[in-house]
Every structure is written in C-alpha cells, then in structure tokens.
C-alpha cells in the first residue's frame, strides 16, 4: 500500500514536470503546427542557467536562505530561457512560416543540436550536482515520503496551469492566441499582430520550460547539457496523448504519463509474473499511448476536428 502511495507521489511529481513542459510544446504546436524539437533544450538552458546563478550566489552571498536563492535563480532562468526562445523563433522558425510543414521541423532539430553543443561549450560536458536548496528532510505521509521540493513542484504546476488556463480562455491575449492559431491572416484583420502573439507564445512556453527545468534539476539533483532531450520527448508524447493543441490535454497527458511510468515500472514485474521488468517501462507507456490513440485518434481531450467536406 505504501509502495503504491509512494509510486503515485513519484508519478505525480514526474508527471507535473512533464505537464509543464508539455504545455509549452502544445502551445507552440497549436499556434504554428511545429513540433518544436528544441523545446527540451530550452529547459536545459534554463536549468543550467539556474545552476550557474545558484553557484554564484552561494559564493557571493553565503547565508542567504535557500528558497530566496532558488526563486532568484528561477527568475533569471526564466528570463534567459524566454529571451532564448524568442530569438530561436525569430531566427529559425519565423522565416519558414510559409514553407512546407516539415521545413521548420528540420531547423528545430538543428537548433536542438546547436543548443546542446553550445551548452557543452559554455558549461562543459560533465554532470553538475544541482544543490538542494529547500530543506531536504522528507515528510512522512502514511509511510510514503514527500520532500519540500516535490511539494513545491506540485504546487507550481497547479498554479502555472491555472494561470495559463485563465490567460488563454478569459483574456484578450488568449483569444488572440486562439485566433492566430486558427488563421493568422484573418486574426490580423481583427487587429491582432500575429508575430507578437507567436512570440508571446514562445516566451510563455520558455518560461514554463525553464521552471520545469529548474525543478527537474533540483528534484533529481543533476544537470547536464543533454538533460533536456528525454523530458522533452516525453512531454511531446504527453502533449499528443492529451490531444495536441489542447492545454488541459497537455496537463492530463503529462500527469498520466508520469503516473504510467512510475506505476508501470513499479508493477510491470508483478503484472507479468516477473517476465518483464522496469526496463520495459517505456514500452508500457508507449503501448498505453498507442491503445488510447487507437480508441481516440485525437488524444484524450483533443476534439475531432470538424472536417466539413
């Protein structure tokens, strides 16, 4: 029982981070139909920036409380990531808006490699220990443990999602985003400047990714230039899982994927009588994905596009 509870906590924490990353993926996808392969690298840059900032602050102002350092580092990481994503969009995607759909996909892949390489130059290739800035003593919850960092992750995700939902559904900029997503040209006729909206989307996505990156690194305690790839990939999966382009879907997809992974690696062994083990976790996750998409071809929350003939 406490194992299950613990796995649920693990899954929720992991899933929350996937969800945050997936939100950025899904927003960018929704608005310009681009699988932004470099999204994971934005996360990585966010995390490594925070790592540098923390290092500097710990030496320059010893004795500052951990949470202050963490918040400051996170803020700076967000700014850096946002600026980066803004530039990436401008340089690598914007010129290709009217090109065949797969062209920006290739520049995105190129960007991803480029960012990894640059990060390797800037931060050196070795793994960096990411300091635990919040108290590390876990709370005991009916035999399961949860750390303050993990609590922070869960709450930050919830807050981010709420803010984002409100933004997209109930504000003018949100409506402008949806309109631009559908038809930038007509949105322009309404007074929306598509470039601004698209840039805003990339910036929001980057901020979420940076937050996720910092939390990812502080939760698991390590950061490196390749760290973005895997969570990026998983988050993309999660976004599709939930119905790409759909914010709620991204969150549900992310959390579900986290849970499936945690519970999957926990119970595959038992389910298959020891035949398969935790090395099949990803397979398990992908098979669940395939089954769900077979039943609901547009993801969990993705509505069937009204394809009027």
């Amino acid at each position: 029982m406490e194992v299950l509870l613990q796995q649920i906590i693990n899954g929720l924490v992991l899933g929350s981070m996937y969800a945050l990353i997936a939100l950025g993926y899904t927003m960018v996808y929704g608005i310009i139909q681009l699988i932004n392969f470099a999204h994971g690298e934005v996360l990585m840059v966010g995390a490594l920036t925070a790592w540098s900032v923390i290092g500097m602050m710990q030496t320059s102002m010893p004795g500052a409380p951990g949470w202050v350092i963490l918040i400051l580092a996170m803020l700076i990481a967000c700014v850096v990531a946002a600026a980066l994503n803004f530039v990436i969009e401008k340089v690598a995607y914007r010129p290709l808006r009217n090109s065949p759909r797969l062209a920006p996909l290739i520049t995105a892949i190129g960007m991803s490699i480029l960012l990894q390489t640059l990060a390797m130059i800037i931060w050196k290739p070795n793994y960096k220990p990411f300091p635990t800035l919040l108290p590390s003593a876990p709370f005991n919850l009916y035999g399961a443990f949860i750390t303050p960092t993990q609590i922070m992750i869960l709450s930050v995700t919830a807050v981010s999602l709420a803010v984002l939902m409100w933004l997209v559904h109930y504000t003018k900029i949100g409506r402008a985003m949806r309109a631009t997503a559908e038809n930038p040209r007509v949105a322009g006729l309404m007074g929306v400047k598509p470039d601004v909206v698209i840039s805003a989307t990339f910036i929001i996505g980057a901020v979420l990714a940076a937050i996720a990156g910092v939390m990812y690194a502080s939760n698991y305690g390590t950061a490196q230039h390749t760290m973005g790839f895997l969570p990026g990939l998983k988050a993309f999966t999660a976004a599709v899982f939930g119905g790409i382009g759909n914010l709620g879907g991204a969150v549900i997809g992310g959390i579900l994927l986290g849970l499936i992974e945690a519970i999957g690696s926990g119970y595959i062994g038992q389910l298959t009588g020891g035949l398969l083990g935790s090395h099949y976790t990803d397979i398990f996750a992908f098979i669940v994905l395939i089954i769900i998409l077979t039943l609901r071809p547009s993801g969990l929350l993705g509505e069937r596009v009204a394809d009027r003939a």
């Binding site: 050196k124 793994y127 990411f130 635990t132 750390t147 305690g221 390590t222 790839f229 690696s265 083990g277």
Partner: protein, 355 residues
C-alpha cells in the same frame, strides 16, 4: 638528426552524454604525450615527436568504425580507446585488419578481448573481476543477505550487474529485486520505491556516477539512507559525493576500481597534481589508465626500436611496465595478467581505499 613525428590517437566520445569521461581519457593521453615529448626520446635512432590524433566517436558504434578506419588510413602508431564496450568491439576488428594496436582503458566488457586479436589490449580489470570482488566483499566481509540490483542497460552496466548477481548468488546472498534504468535517466524514484518494498540490505548499481550520484540522493529522499550501496568503476569517482549532493548515504557506498587507486600508488598523488595543473576540474575516472596506456605503447616502441606497429606489436604483448596504475603485463588475450581490484569507500566525502 631528423625528427620523426609519431601520431598516437585517442578515440572516444567527446560529444554527447558521456563526453566528460571521453575528455578525461583524452586528457590522460595528452598529459602522457606532453611528458614524453619533454623527454626528447630517440627511437630507432630518430628523434621522436609525438602528436595526438583525437577523434570523437560520440559513443556510436557506426561512428566508431568510421573513426577506426580513418585512423588506419592515417597510419597512426597506436590508439588509446575506445571508451565503451559498444564502440570498442566493432572498432577492434578494424584495427586488427590494419594491424594497429589499441588499448582500451575503460571498456570493461569481457567480450572485448574474446576474438583474441593481437592488437587489442585492455588496461583495467574487466567486469568479471570487479563484479565478483564486490559480491565477495558484500557476502564475506559485510555478511549481507539481501541485495537489490540495478543496471543501466548498457553493455557495461549490464555486464557488471550480471557478474555481481551471479557471484552474489554463489555466495548465498539473495537478489530480492532486479531493476533497470538507462544511462540517460535522472529519475530513479520509481525503481527505488520498488526496491524499498523489498527491504534489501544493499543495492548494487551497474552504471556511471552520473546516475549513481542522483540515485544516492533519491535514496535519501525515500528514507533508504541506511542501505549499503555497491557499484563498479564507472561510479567510483571522486566526483561521486558531489554528484550525490554530499548526502549522508555517500558513506554507505562501496565501490570497486580496477588497479590500485591513484592515491595509493607511489607516483599517484604526484600524477594527479600534474593532471590537475594541466586540466583543472576535468578529472573523472580513467585518465590515469589512458596515461599509462600511452606509456605502454611507447614503452613497446622503445623496446622494439621502432614506431612501426608491425614491428612493435610483438613487443607490446611482452610488456612489463610499471605504470601509475599498476605493474602492467598482458595475457595472450590482451588482458592484464594481474588485474588488481581496489575496493573503496567514501570517508568525509573523499574516496578512500578500504583495507
């Protein structure tokens, strides 16, 4: 007297996820070559100037074979590499075809030397030795009963874990859980939670410090701070405590390295100083071996009086060289004759050899 330039290659991943380890061995080779050049050696009557040919295989077998072919074409005098078993095995065949010797200082899978090429050498204990030593220690010295085993599903991690498991079972221990992760993972919460449910006395991890560091930290988070932790050379680095965030459970770690630890060796401390002076902050694991490997190649050249592989390879087999890492001699398969294994623990977050 004319100067002959001799190229010695380093081949390993200097990009990608374990670029830091690849860089480390490359540095080892560089250090050795610099020191050799300072000695103004004469081989076969010619003054020799060594140069490094550093190639990146990105940890990819396909690229590794391309690298190997390129080095063959370039007629380098010898190769230090590759780093992983997955790249070393296919590359070995190519080196053998063109008669260039290579010494791996990190690929620990027993299969590397299986074909028995006279061009393939390994400068560290293979997984069989490391895994077994750890299991024996756990059973005999610590009298542990239940152990959980994790591996990272690489040729290295899996090989090591298998040997450990096997020996542990022979020694009467019970493997209560087998869990798996990858060499790119950072989240081990799920598998550790599983393991916690099985209440083992110890955990064995076959993999690198980039995983075992965070893993130790996550053990702590899950309240597994009192479980013993075993691992092989890939994790047995000085960086480990740092990577683990210096959590208390670092004190539970016992890990094995091939050879004697740098600190314990006569010239070890001094060597490390020289390395750090040249490559500050870059030290990982295998650079002393790469350093020695370079020296071993040159030693063979000196004895053969030639830098031509065809001439000096037979001498290589007869090596008896006192290196930083060990007294080096090869079996006819190219393995060390006496692959020493050192068990280490961490005291005050510093790696210290046991016994």
């Amino acid at each position: 007297q004319d100067v002959q330039t001799v190229k010695i290659a380093h081949a390993g991943p200097t990009s990608g996820g374990i670029a830091h380890i690849g860089k480390d061995t490359e540095n080892g080779v560089r250090l050795a070559l610099d020191e050799l050049n300072a000695q103004n050696l004469t081989i076969g009557g010619k003054k020799i100037k060594f140069e490094i040919a550093a190639e990146d295989d990105a940890g990819d077998p396909k690229q590794a074979t391309a690298v190997a072919q390129k080095l063959c074409d370039q007629k380098v005098a010898g190769v230090i590499g590759h780093l992983q078993s997955g790249t070393t095995i296919p590359a070995a065949g190519i080196y053998n075809k063109c008669g260039i010797p290579h010494i791996t200082t990190a690929a620990t899978n027993p299969d590397v030397t299986k074909p028995g090429y006279n061009t393939t050498y390994r400068l560290i204990a293979n997984d069989n030795a490391l895994g077994a030593a750890l299991a024996i220690y756990a059973a005999d010295a610590l009298k542990l009963k239940n152990v959980a085993v994790i591996d990272d599903r690489t040729a290295y991690g899996q090989g090591l874990a298998d040997v450990f498991k096997e020996t542990a079972k022979q020694k009467g221990m019970t493997v209560v859980a087998s869990e798996f992760t990858t060499d790119k993972a950072t989240d081990f919460m799920a598998i550790l939670t599983n393991i916690r449910g099985k209440k083992p006395d110890a955990i064995f991890y076959g993999g690198l410090d980039s995983q075992s560091g965070p893993m130790l930290r996550q053990l702590e988070q899950l309240g597994l701070g009192n479980v013993k932790f075993f691992s092989g050379d890939g994790s047995c680095t000085e960086k480990l405590p740092e990577l683990a965030g210096k959590v208390a459970s670092v004190a539970n770690v016992t890990c094995a390295t091939g050879g004697i630890s740098v600190e314990k060796m006569a010239g070890g401390q001094d060597w490390k100083k020289r390395y750090d002076a040249k490559f500050p902050g870059a030290f990982q694991i295998y650079s002393p071996y790469a350093y020695d490997a370079t020296m071993v190649l040159v030693d063979a050249m000196k004895r053969a009086g030639s830098v031509d592989p065809k001439v000096y390879v037979p001498e290589l087999r007869k090596t008896n060289y006192k290196g930083v890492t060990a007294q080096i001699q090869f079996t006819d398969k190219g393995e060390l004759t006496k692959p020493a294994v050192t068990l280490n623990a961490y005291k005050n977050n510093a790696r210290t050899p046991l016994n």
